[in-house]
């Protein structure tokens, strides 16, 4: 414990003004003493002999003159085996364990170790004495669930420097605090490596060979995303949408079906109820990729809306740091941040208390650079050993009033690779997922052929044009050819873009099935059709829609699948017009 002690001179909400004498570090962690309690806080501004600190807890009861203990350390996360399947708060306290100790409520000033200290891990060394290592090199590994959890040389080894392994522990069972290696730096300094290390959450881990361009698609099994607005491994995407448009359902589905090794859910400033669902259901769901419980690949960082605001900001950084850590093992990690707007609001609250000059809608002027820096922590990297790992970041945005012109949405759109805009109109019509097919975009490549996507989008755009036109000239003023285009667009929307999240088969569509079905649907869209009247056309498409929807609900490859496919083809053949 450092002996640097300060004294509180002001309290305003969760902002403390502290008078200090010895040097303090920007963003260092300090503890405000309240009787026996120690309230964690972080230095966020220094003026003269006064440090301003945000407290990660409720400040009720603090007095002027109370002691503050500075630690000299930046806010850090513990990185080591035992993180997976855990539920942490924004400061990496394990919530289930906290519940065991404190009961129903979150007691302030109560901090626990993120990693269990008593659990032992079977360590296998992969380097020998005398080897030279750099940051990001593995010293050995332990099994964690289905993964080989690599134990790394400290990430703090300066770039380009190599340290020598003086001593490495033999294979055996060790607790996380056990020293498994002793290292020497070129200047003769000695260092210890344990099964875990600490890393400051606001600084990216850069212990890899190079960053690559994200090209490989990350399939989510949600058709509208994988086919029209795909996400790439190592890419970034955002989901802005008004409340009630289904952001959270979308995130839940993605966390369940996404084709990645590890999913980290950062529930940041959102409802507790949603975390609870993941918490209680995932352990019982089976991951189809591994046959193990879905929880084994999931990690939740949860700072719900009623928990202290300052920790909300910390939670997204804790989450992305852990994501980067698993990426270092050559794994594909998906980080889902719900919602980045709440995090931005936390910044705004602190900025207001600091009486900084406000930018647009009172958000601080540095909002854009902070958001950009966060999304830039995503990426595909080639590691020191030649393997690749990736962090994909998907963030929801909750724009005030559902208006995408606000600062958080706009700053986010500038830096992400795909935009899944949710629309109130579509959710009112119960067209789920409510991703707007005309406004959304993606810069990545998807699972189906590009020219098929172009053809489908063309029909959607033209269908929308016809629909707009019909609002002016009415159905009677529309030619039957135009009307059929409109019906085709509606048909594609109903049977492909919409997906029933609660149906066991329809909820997840594999990339193979998407390719197969989409190819056939595009063929139907391209088929010229002749109808006697608009009513006949409408009736035909209503029947076709229902049949294809039934098709969506049966498993691919079975007899029923083929049978419905034949029926669909027969129906289309009846109305097809052959030139």
């Amino acid at each position: 414990m450092s002996d640097n002690i300060g004294k509180i001179v002001g309290v305003n909400g969760n902002l403390l003004t502290v008078e200090f004498e010895k040097p303090v570090v920007q963003n260092e962690v300090a503890y405000a003493r309240l009787g026996d309690l120690r309230l964690k806080s972080e230095v966020i501004r220094v003026r003269g002999h006064y440090a301003e600190m945000q407290v990660f807890e409720d400040t009720t009861g603090l007095k002027e003159g109370d002691r503050v203990e500075f630690t000299g350390e930046l806010l850090s996360a513990e990185l080591g085996p035992g993180l997976l399947a855990q539920v942490f708060d924004g400061l990496q306290n394990p919530l289930p364990k906290l519940a065991e100790e404190c009961g129903f409520f979150l007691k302030r000033g109560h901090y626990l170790d993120a990693l269990p200290r008593d659990r032992r891990w079977a360590f296998t060394p992969t380097v020998e004495t005398g080897a030279s290592v750099t940051a990001g090199d593995a010293l050995g590994w332990v099994p964690e669930g289905i993964f080989r959890h690599r134990i790394f040389a400290p990430f703090s080894i300066p770039r380009g420097e190599r340290w020598t392994v003086e001593e490495i522990a033999p294979a055996g069972e060790y607790a996380v605090e056990h020293v498994v290696a002793r290292l020497r730096d070129p200047r003769g300094g000695r260092h210890e490596a344990r099964l875990f290390q600490r890393w400051p959450v606001k600084i990216p881990i850069r212990a890899f060979a190079e960053r690559l361009r994200p090209t490989e698609p990350l399939t989510t099994k949600i058709r509208i995303i994988d086919t029209l607005f795909p996400v790439a491994r190592g890419g970034t995407y955002c989901i802005p949408g008004p409340f009630g448009a289904g952001k959270t359902v979308l995130q839940q589905l993605t966390s369940r079906y996404a084709d990645v090794d590890i999913v980290i859910v950062a529930a940041c400033g959102e409802r507790a109820g949603e975390v609870v669902e993941t918490l209680r259901e995932f352990p019982e769901l089976v991951d189809p990729r591994t046959g193990r419980s879905l929880m084994e690949r999931t990690l939740i960082i949860c700072n719900t809306s009623s928990m202290p605001v300052a920790a909300r900001e910390a939670s997204v950084y804790t989450a992305v740091t852990i994501a980067e850590y698993y990426r270092q093992m050559g794994l594909n990690v998906l980080l889902l941040a719900d919602s980045t707007s709440r995090w931005a609001q936390a910044l705004r609250e602190m900025s207001g208390r600091l009486e900084e000059i406000p930018g647009e809608e009172a958000f601080p002027a540095y909002l854009e650079s902070v958001i950009a820096a966060f999304y830039e922590r995503a990426g595909v990297v080639r590691l020191n050993d030649g393997s690749t790992g990736s962090v994909t970041i998907g963030g929801t945005v909750s724009p005030a009033g559902g208006n995408f012109e606000e600062p958080v949405t706009q700053s986010t759109l500038k830096v992400v690779g795909a935009f899944h805009g949710l629309s109130r109109e579509r959710s009112d019509q119960r067209r789920y997922p409510a991703i707007h097919p005309l406004e959304s975009w993606s810069k990545y490549e998807g699972v189906v052929l590009v020219d098929q996507v172009a053809a489908a989008r063309d029909v959607l755009f033209r269908g929308n044009d016809v629909n707009q036109m019909m609002k002016v000239v009415g159905e009677e003023g529309t030619s039957i050819d135009d009307f059929v285009v409109y019906l085709k667009a509606e048909f594609l929307d109903a049977v492909y873009l919409q997906q029933d999240a609660y149906h066991p088969v329809d909820a997840a569509t594999s990339p193979e099935r998407q390719r197969y079905v989409f190819e056939r649907l595009v063929r139907i869209l391209k088929t010229p059709m002749r109808f006697e009247s608009k009513d006949a056309a409408r009736r035909f498409f209503q029947r076709l829609t229902q049949t294809v929807k039934d098709w969506n609900r049966v498993e691919m490859g079975g007899a029923e699948f083929a049978e419905i496919e034949r029926r669909v083809e027969a129906m289309v053949a009846e109305v097809a017009e052959y030139a």
């Binding site: 919530l95 669902e277 609660y502």
Partner: protein, 438 residues
Amino acid sequence: MHRVYHRIERIAGNVITVQATGVAYRELAQVTSARGVSLAQVIRLEGGRVDLQVFAGSRGIATDSQVRFLGHTMQVPFSQSLLGRVFTGGGQPRDGGPPIHENPIGIGGPSVNPAKRIIPRNMVRTGIPMIDVFNTLVESQKLPIFSVAGEPYNPLLARIALQAEVDLIILGGMGLKHDDYLFFRDTLEREGALSRSILFIHTAADPIVECLLVPDICLAVAEQFALKNQRVLVLLTDMTNFADALKEIAITMEQIPSNRGYPGDLYSQLAARYEKAVDFDTAGSITILAVTTMPGDDVTHPVPDNTGYITEGQFYLRNGRIEPFGSLSRLKQLVNSRTREDHRTIMNTMIQLYAGYKETLEKQAMGFRMSDWDRKLLKYGRLFEDRMMDLRVNIPLEQALDLGWRILAECFEPAETAIPTRLIEKFWPGNIAAATAA
């Protein structure tokens, strides 16, 4: 023992400032002036100066009025004797009964550990089809009624309260009109529910600071009862007044406003209250039903907007009817899957078709010719509004679902609804379908 100060340096709005030492953040003080005694709470400490928010307002406070610090934070008594009583926002009796002092508990306590929550699973039946079928009320949910001034939101609130199966009702009134307060009291009394109710009422005539305390007091008491295995329903009306009170204090404190004058922490402030809704894994539950009036019927106004993000679905009350387009949370979808297999399908299909009806209405208003399909939609929309949306309809869920099938069958052929064939075969009223086809 208690420290007493006599020199008030600044009086602005409801906030007074004194020079004092050893004062804790959020501590309570008693301010004695010629007008009487009021409580006040510390809201900022800064270099020896203490800002206090005076509950009864600063009017009549002299620069030499007495400020006595009490050494504790805001508390509310908690005991069975609260039942059937009416209090002010400050916790004083409003019904002429004796004050209660026993067993004081703190308000605005810490939030519940998410690991101790359970997934809400019990539907609360209300007998209103627009709620039961289309926007199910779930135990431990937090649900606002978005409304415009002039809509019958308070009667609706009262009706849901009386029909819902709960052990205890706590009503928090903020900026309530005095006659609305009497309405609630009399309705609860008439229906024999007053003995299981507790009322904390701040009327529009009371000091604004007390308005801020109402939700915290209600929820602190609710939490204690929930921990004692009671299922508590908390009614809050109207949360927009609460937000406006927050705005007033924030502006007085010279905080930088973020959106339409509201403080930047509006979301966190509202969330801290709504998130008290909970289903404890080994105890009772708290369900919150709140009214949020939308100024100018504008759902993008900061108060309804932030509320919408916090809560799990909303009821929109418009023209005396609950609109079917309220957002659905995942929560309800999960509960709906356990009622009857056709519940979710009926809900989605009927709303999709109703959206089509609304479009057709627009077309009709512009004088376009109606196609066969349009005429079907028009018929459907009218039937739906008359038989389902009318707030007077009072039938159990199962009957409401059957009614839905009947309305569909009267208007459409099965294929037109795009309902899964399996459900059509099971539920479509056969004789009506045959009659329509013939």
